[in-house]
Amino acid sequence: MPERVAVVGFGVTRFAARHPNATYFELAFDAVKGALGDAGLTTKDVDAAVYGVYNDLFERQFMQDVLIHDYLGLYGKPGVRVTTGGSTGGYAFREAYLTVASGLHDVVLCVGAEKCADCFDYVVGKPTPEVVKAIAYSADMTYEFPSGMYAASSYALLARAHMDKYGTTEEQAAKVSVKNHKNAILNPIAQSPMELTVEEVMKSRMIAYPFKMLDCCLYTEGAAALILATEKKAKRITDTPIWVKGIGAANDKAFTGFRSTTDKMGKYGDIADLRSHYAAAEAAYKMAGITDPIHQLDLAEIHDAFSFTELQAYEAMRFCPPGGAGKFIDDGIPERAGTLPCTVSGGLIGCGHAVGATGIMQTGEVVMQLREEAGKKQVPVKKGNGLVHSIGGPGSCYCTVAVLGRDKEKGRK
């Protein structure tokens, strides 16, 4: 039997377009300091560390993890880096979970950091084109990148297929953008809090049809850290441990054009359906004993890399049937006041996408919500469960899903 694992600490920096006065290892340091303070621990109590840093080109540095490890004063202890595109945070959390669940270590630090706006296009005079290029090298360089494939285009192909298969509209996707920008208003660390209208999203600049600028997440600098512990340690550290009840992960074919209903993941659909998301959710729900997510979860943090991606994720997370995501948002179910608030942090669209840190920030958001310590953005917690969804890679091939839950009787420290 695996050890029961709890999250006992969370720390996060501000998510900003640029932190000119901090390096990636300094941002990581700030987040870790926050998490240790939250848990009431020092580095002496930490047995091992897992680092989520996505992109070597962003950081202008390979193997950033050893440098962060040194900066944190964790020398002499094991540390490993995870890099799985947008899902780096989600997969780093899974690694940290495994390290504790296996019984190998009692207290594990999980840190995500990213600093992308050091990339700079000299000709245009701004970072964006170079940031976009640094991400694009994640696509297959042999067959796919030479056609001019970028992250937004890669996800837009999936969205376009979803529109064609299910009749999802651009307006329905725009509603996700409006919701998440609005949710960010209550989040003090958010990069892009805004009151918007569907029309404004529709009128924003075209990026890759059907994505307009306001359908896309931001690139962000920031860091986030979590501390995970065994049941025995967790109960000593905190009165409000948040348990990792279920973890699921799956990678679909990175060559999106190879996905078909006749292959091994065919039961989840084709190019229009985010199949790895279905598989990851299924595994996490099975482990957590969730059979009716919409009635057993209090909230879900969705990896809204693009507005359409959040729609597609509603279906994969089984919040609605395949093709039902448009109606799901039309009905207001994922709104803050809806039956299942989704992405209350503002997500990648509203709070920002500091790639390696994003999944860890969103996991932290669910932890704080379940502890009922989320401040102004707190949503009602009645069932005691929350979901975190983290995705990445070309054609959204990576996906991790975590189900977190608190003890039935909630006591305060």
Binding site: Y122, V124, V132, Y143, S147, G148, G167, R205, G257, I271
Partner: protein
């Protein structure tokens, strides 16, 4: 663009948005980020480096890598493309799956695949019009990338579609490959065009080739 588009008024609105986006892109695409130009800019700015707001120190830097990249067992695909303007697929002798882009071995059966010549005609699975990209593709926007199932293949390949009207590219559309006269052994050596525009783009390629010689 989709089955659910509304009135003509909405169509016009969308057209205007596209026109505006084109204008913005044209403004930004001042030129290609040539190595020389970058070096000049870095040199010019290095002299003025200073502590901004007396808080942090920013320097101008770049990162360049050169390669001699081997296609390994994918080589026959690129060799045929480069020398003979042919698209090759790879067929699994056990399950019969035809891969394009090809694989030397079947990922399901682990059998060694057989190389086969495929047609230059295919069908669009799904497509995207790209409007915001990095500098090396700035001058080409808006361009269309699409997954295309080549006749005889079981998988779709990502490739550029060039058309006199990018808006008409839709799933199910029949497309044909046009090969560049100046090839480098890269995927960018060919692109697809709507079947009825094939002759036009073939002439364009020939004109380009004559212009260069």
């Amino acid at each position: 663009m989709t089955g659910s588009t509304g009135s003509g008024r909405e169509e016009r609105k969308k057209k205007t948005a596209i026109e505006e986006a084109k204008k913005k892109i044209a403004e930004e695409a001042k030129g290609e980020p040539l190595e020389v130009e970058i070096n000049r800019i870095i040199a010019g700015r290095a002299e003025k480096q200073q502590f901004e707001r007396d808080k942090y120190f920013e320097i101008w830097d770049k990162y360049v890598m050169s390669y001699k990249y081997s296609y390994g067992r994918q080589s026959p695909f690129f060799k045929e493309l480069y020398l003979n303007k042919r698209i090759m697929g790879a067929k699994c002798p056990k399950c019969g799956m035809v891969y394009c882009p090809p694989r030397s071995h079947c990922s399901e059966c682990y059998e060694e695949n057989k190389w086969i010549t495929l047609s230059d005609i295919g069908t669009v699975t799904t497509s995207v019009a790209c409007w915001y990209v990095s500098a090396e593709f700035f001058i080409e926007v808006p361009y269309v990338c699409a997954y295309i199932k080549i006749d005889g293949a079981d998988t779709s390949m990502l490739q550029r579609i060039v058309s006199q009207d990018v808006e008409r590219v839709k799933p199910g559309m029949s497309v044909r490959a046009v090969f560049r006269e100046q090839r480098e052994g890269k995927m960018s050596d060919f692109y697809f065009v709507p079947k009825d525009e094939y002759e036009y783009w073939l002439q364009e390629e020939r004109k380009k080739a004559q212009g260069k010689t």
